[in-house]
Amino acid sequence: MTNSVAEIKDADAIFITGSNTTESHPVIGAKVKQAIKRGAKLVVADPREIELAKYADVFLQIKPGTSLALNNALAHVILEEGLEDRDYIESTTEDFEKFAIKVKEYTPEKAAEICGVSPEDIRKAARIYAEAGKASILYCMGITQHHNGTETVMSLSNLALMTGNIGKENAGINPLRGQNNVQGACDMGALPNVLTGYQPVANPQVIEKFEKAWGVKLNNKPGITIPEAMHGAEHGDIKVLYVFGENPMVSDPDTNHVKKALEKTFLIVQDLFLTETAELADVVLPAAAFAEKDGTFVNTERRVQRVRKAVDAPGEAKADWLIFMELMNVLGYSKKYKNAEEIFNEIREVTPQYVGISYARIEEVGIQWPCPTEEHPGTKFLHVGKPARGAGLFMAVDFAPSSEMNKADYPLTLTTGRNLYQYHTTTMTGKTDAINKKAGECYIEISPSLAANLKVEDGEMVKVISPRGEIKTKARVTDIVADNVVFIPFHYADGANVLTNGEELDKYVKIPGLKVTGVKIEKLA
């Protein structure tokens, strides 16, 4: 997030897109409601009529995968009606002209056609966003998990730049991180192209710096992403795969291919439980849970916060860092760490954003990076005065539909997401009986008229088919989805990801287009 969670409740307008906030980030959902109580305006764009849609001044029930067209049309209206922040554009941005020409093509009428909403609503939404003094954009995987996810994010960033909603309190572009420490994992360089603090592997100076810090020669060839590694494993190029605290058998697209890939490679799994993925492993290592170790998580607002040991790990389970350290030692790298704090201090030495953060300083309250010195208070919101790169870069981006759309054989569009009760692949939440009582099994949301066409009753089992595979699941008849759109939560094994496409990736960051899948539904005899 460019801004902080606590700032949301004081925004003048909030644009929520591709985020079912009250279910996926319930506490942020509560802040949005607090903002509305204070008088903030709300625009929601989502394929489903999510809870916050009821609170929205404008709700745009867009077709899955069409956000980019909508965002461009919002920009079009803002320019057409002269609602842009000229001062900000002129003083702090680049490439505005190119962008302005591009969005000229995206009239509300054109976007309305693509998105399946009314042009007037697009105009209203644009006015609410642009006329607010402080407007905040909240988005989530509904924006990013598309073949054009990166470009869709750019289209949102264009909106914030053109209205000067960057670098000020209660505004900004705010991706809501889905997991407790995605931010920390990214910050730490658990990514194939960058080391800690987003220092590129391809930069020789960076490599030199880390070679010095770690005392070894480093490989300077950027690595491969998860979808590429899966592909590689399936085709025999990846011989060893070490999966730590993930359950790709449920979370990754196209389960049947994932299974083939995992069976083919030498698989090491490190987890709390014998997950669907661990069952396929050659070696399984038992790890300690969050309540069993000391360390830090970094939340969605870049705040480094302490995690503390409350109980002992069961049996011989160990803290993950200890397992990695011992394995490094076995492999001949002799560095030892006494505790997580020693590791954190090493992180500070090589990560510019973390230099000023220490365990002592975050004992009571976490600190938001960047925090360059011990005296620095941390950074509540980013890009003050000027965007970090020097100037805000407008990106002229075009809408192209996913190949999963408009398939004659698979006329329905499946989109996925979370429900309130379960978390990811249920390995943790599924251990609480009351949670399972509320949301213990997979289901598919279908509209009443689709149900009527299929002659399917609420609660009846149906077969859902895509080119990748088929599943049987329970129909939940609800009018929160449009007639040709269906929804399956991705939590459950043998669920949504049996159907999704693992091949169509975003060209920049290789994210799979999980949010749009062509499917068909059959009534079971």
Binding site: K37, N193, V283, Y333, M428
Partner: protein
């Protein structure tokens, strides 16, 4: 700035400050049931009354703003007498079952009865007799213990924005309920448990799997392990077991949690946790030692490096693990294995 005196201490505070806020500034504790700094003060419970020199009656400290020259006594004879009377009245309609009440040890009513030495009520009369609403799988609502402070109602409406519960009826039968008394399970309740966390008595209680007394527990401040909001929470621990979770006033959550953070902690102590390394032998995963597990992995990595090269090895790190865990995993892959094939589920 306004100058005033509380129990003889000189205090200087900003205009608009309440007596309660001013008192806390000089470390004077005024008892409250219904007060929560995050809510609009509503002065429902009256237990925070104080004596103001020259005042005609005892104002509530939580709602009364200070003024210049105010002279306040927080434990004067009259104040204490009034508080004792309030407690006597509250107890007149509260079961005397601290012997087995799970809230005992963390109950504000119990604390204040002890402080003001109220053993039992002096009133005889009709008592509430509500059926306990146990329909929600995470917590129950026992209106026989409710003191009608209203904190649950206001947290649900003002902070959580769910508005699942409210005051029902008037006078003696007043109670906290869902619309049309349909029960929690039929309501819009999202089981966030934020009402449970603020209840000062035993009316809203988690349905804990473990039986424990609060005095047998310790709490450990930590960060929630679910979504990316980074809510701060206190794990309630008894005998090396997590038996409950309370929200803390973190920067992002400001004292709120959701159903997962508040109630879905059972996985930590779950019997199906992995407790030893496993290695596949003859097609089956069997228990093994750490040494053997490391050896099998190291041999495979070394062999692959020699025969095909380090780039034939890849790792998926974990967005659910510590920052430190992630750092060491990428260091293991880059510095020791020799590849940049490291990624994690940010994309999934």
């Amino acid at each position: 700035m306004i100058n005033l005196k509380i129990n003889g201490f000189e205090v200087q505070v900003e205009e608009g400050t309440t007596i309660l806020q001013a008192a806390s500034k000089v470390g004077v504790k005024i008892p409250t049931f219904c007060h929560d700094p995050r809510l609009v003060p509503h002065g429902t419970c009256r237990i925070c009354v104080v004596e103001v020199e020259g005042g005609r009656n005892l104002p509530t400290a939580c709602t009364t703003p200070v003024y210049e020259g105010m002279n306040i006594q927080t434990e004067s004879k009259e104040v204490v007498q009034t508080r004792r009377e309030i407690l006597d009245l509250v107890l007149a309609n509260h079961p005397l079952d601290c012997l087995t009440c799970e809230k005992s040890g963390r109950c504000t009513l119990q604390d204040l009865c002890y402080q003001y030495d109220i053993k039992e009520t002096t009133y005889v009369g009709e008592r509430k007799d509500f059926e306990v609403d146990e329909s929600n799988p995470f917590y129950y609502n026992d209106q026989n213990k409710c003191i009608l402070c209203g904190k649950c109602v206001y947290v649900c409406s003002q902070l959580q924005g769910t508005e699942a519960i409210g005051f029902a009826e008037r006078g003696f039968p007043t109670h906290i309920a869902t619309p049309f008394n349909q029960g929690l399970e039929q309501s819009t309740c999202v089981s966030c448990g934020n009402c449970v966390s603020v209840c000062p008595v035993g009316a809203l209680m988690p349905k804990s799997k473990e039986k424990f007394r609060y005095w047998e527990t310790k709490t450990v401040r930590t960060t929630c392990s679910y979504c990316g909001v980074g809510c701060q929470m206190d794990l309630v621990v008894k005998d090396d077991k997590v038996v409950g979770v309370d929200p803390a006033m973190g920067a992002s959550n400001e004292g709120l949690l959701c159903v997962k953070g508040k109630f879905a902690y059972n996985f930590v102590n779950h019997p199906s946790r992995l407790t030893t390394p496993l290695v596949r032998k003859d097609g089956k995963l069997v228990e093994t030692s750490w040494d053997e597990a490391y050896e099998v992995i190291a041999n495979k990595i070394n062999e692959t490096k020699e025969t095909v090269g380090a780039d034939a090895i890849a790792a998926f790190s974990s967005a659910r693990a510590l920052t430190e865990d992630n750092y060491l995993m990428q260091k293991l892959m880059r510095a020791v294995v020799g590849t940049n094939n490291i990624d994690h589920c940010a994309r999934l």
